[in-house]
Homo-oligomer: 350 residues x 2
């Protein structure tokens, strides 16, 4: 069972009984400390070390790593201790990186509290922080000891966060092209429909697992999961100061723009672009770069981890349920695309 | 063959041919840049990125990591690039950590140039940096693509550096207790005796490999390699400002003091302590802590990665060729030992 019926408390307790950790460190964000931690028993254990990071990507910095490592040192955390990350993807990425490098790796558990981190960030062993505006540039491939998902956290999320998770669900649906694609075409289910949510989360995890298991270190097939993420990360870096621009919103837009690029390169036909657009735009607002953002955007894309010899490497949708990876696009061709779809600068004020 | 007959240049060239890296980054220390890099062909390739760090442990800091990562970002280093570390253990540890976390891991090769790094630091996949005076507290377990050892570098080393490597050779000899122990009892061979050196280096690598292969992540048997390193690291941290105090000197002393502690705890008899002393003190000067250093020393030992539940865990020599690990010593017992062997403060000025 991937989404279990035991409560998270029961699962944590089982781990404690087995591991007998000498210390427990709980990493939370401001929001997850307020909304999610009180739902867990560990909240009541006063001898736990609670480490609070800012919400969102601000936690994923070397400054916080150093501070967290220093805290672990000061509190005599050892390899027999246990670190619990309770929060969204940023909390998990940050905690996973810090724990996987402290003493060359101490055990950690993920308790994802956002939809996005339940269907994506908590799975696949990628940890990481950002540096000089480049996302996840420093990190490790390390699996947590366990991932404890629970849909009881869904009601703590606002619509923006549900949408953010939904973008990755759309990506998985495009990759899968069957059962999940059909559910996702119905749009976002009501939060009270726990059956459908359990089903969706389970299907997402199965799809991602099947890809990650084949290629943990992203040498080939795992690159499919980068669908929408090249342009998506570019948009995210470009608009990082805008709090309304979530990771999911950028990825949803990335999925659309990359499919349009694929269409222009002859990788897919216009029907595929329409299908992707039909999943994305009833739910997300469109983000478009302005003329003056073309060059910064190109620079961001040139720094993508997936690049090779100055060529930007894309994963593309050939059709729903049939995607490809390692498709190289030259900077010149990409510049042409970015210029073609750039809007005038003043329009970009909204 | 572990110590190969091909030159390092030939081996590097073979890797280049196979990998076709899009970029080569060479990390050196001030000293290895001056003395060792000119011995290699890669020195002449002007399009390589040469990154220079200070000599010794000063390189192993988060500040240098950040600067190095920033350089790699700026120079568009990718997962298809190759990082070469040319230097002693500190250069290798630093480079291994930075490369194993940049983009979640890019390929790196070790070219150890000191005796210590040839017989120890280059092998076993441990990477790391120091933080707040705690050695190797942040790091990963990541194997380099290749380790290229060459005794041609030995003549670049001064006596202090040869001694520093010799301390780890003594440790390996104590663990092995047979062939290597007999050679090591003869003392340090002349540098011109390349046959004996090749033999010693080869035997050291075989011994360490056999232990590491059984237990890469140091869950059990690999802990044997920590022999002398608990008190050794304590002494090293205590005297980090003294440039004459090398890692090897501290380990050599650690081997002696830990055996004396083992004797006092009834783990070994006085003959074993004499045997260890006979290997160490004809070659190394004795380091002893002063009364005022007892508490700082205890605190340093309490922060050791190998600890569990506030107990300090030692690897001990029961007799030459028969060692043990996970031997717990309470802080109280250790304090007693440290106090017993502390010298008066003014004597410690030399």
């Amino acid at each position: 069972m991937i989404v279990r019926t035991e409560t998270i408390d029961e699962r944590i307790r089982a781990h404690m009984d087995r591991m007998q950790p000498d210390k427990i460190v709980v990493v939370v964000s401001h929001t997850s400390e307020k909304l999610c931690l009180p739902k867990l028993e560990i909240h009541k254990k006063l001898d736990n070390i609670i480490y609070i990071v800012p919400d969102g990507d601000r936690a994923k910095s070397l400054t916080y790593c150093e501070d967290f490592w220093e805290t672990m040192l000061r509190e005599n955390v050892t390899r027999r201790s246990l670190v619990l990350a309770v929060g969204g993807g940023a909390v998990l990425d940050f905690t996973g990186f810090c724990a996987s490098t402290f003493m060359r790796g101490i055990p950690f558990i993920y308790v994802p509290t956002t939809l996005l981190s339940m269907v994506d960030g908590s799975q696949g062993g990628k940890t990481g922080i950002n540096l000089y505006g480049t996302k996840n540039i420093i990190g490790t491939f390390t699996e947590p000891l366990a991932v404890m998902r629970n849909i009881d956290f869904l009601p703590t999320l606002d619509s923006k966060q549900i949408h953010s998770g939904w973008a990755e669900i759309i990506k998985h649906a495009i990759l899968e092209g069957k059962y999940l694609y059909h559910i996702v075409q119905n749009g976002i289910p009501d939060l009270s429909d726990t059956e459908t949510w359990m089903d969706i989360i389970r299907k997402n995890i199965i799809l991602k697992s099947s890809i990650v298991e084949e290629d943990f270190r992203e040498a080939h097939k795992r690159k499919l999961l980068n669908l929408g993420h090249t342009i998506g990360h570019g948009i995210e870096a470009l608009r990082f100061e805008d709090e309304d621009v979530t990771h999911g919103l950028c990825i949803a837009n990335g999925l659309y723009w990359e499919t349009l690029l694929a269409e222009e390169l002859g990788v897919c036909n216009s029907k595929t672009t329409q299908n992707v657009s039909a999943l994305v735009y009833p739910l997300f607002f469109k983000i478009q770069w302005s003329k003056s953002e073309v060059q910064p955007m190109l620079q961001l894309l040139l720094h993508d981890k997936k690049n090779h010899e100055g060529k930007i490497q894309f994963s593309f949708t050939k059709e729903i349920g049939n995607c490809t990876y390692d498709y190289e696009v030259s900077p010149e061709r990409l510049l042409e695309f970015l210029e073609k779809h750039a809007i005038a600068d003043q329009v970009n004020e909204d």
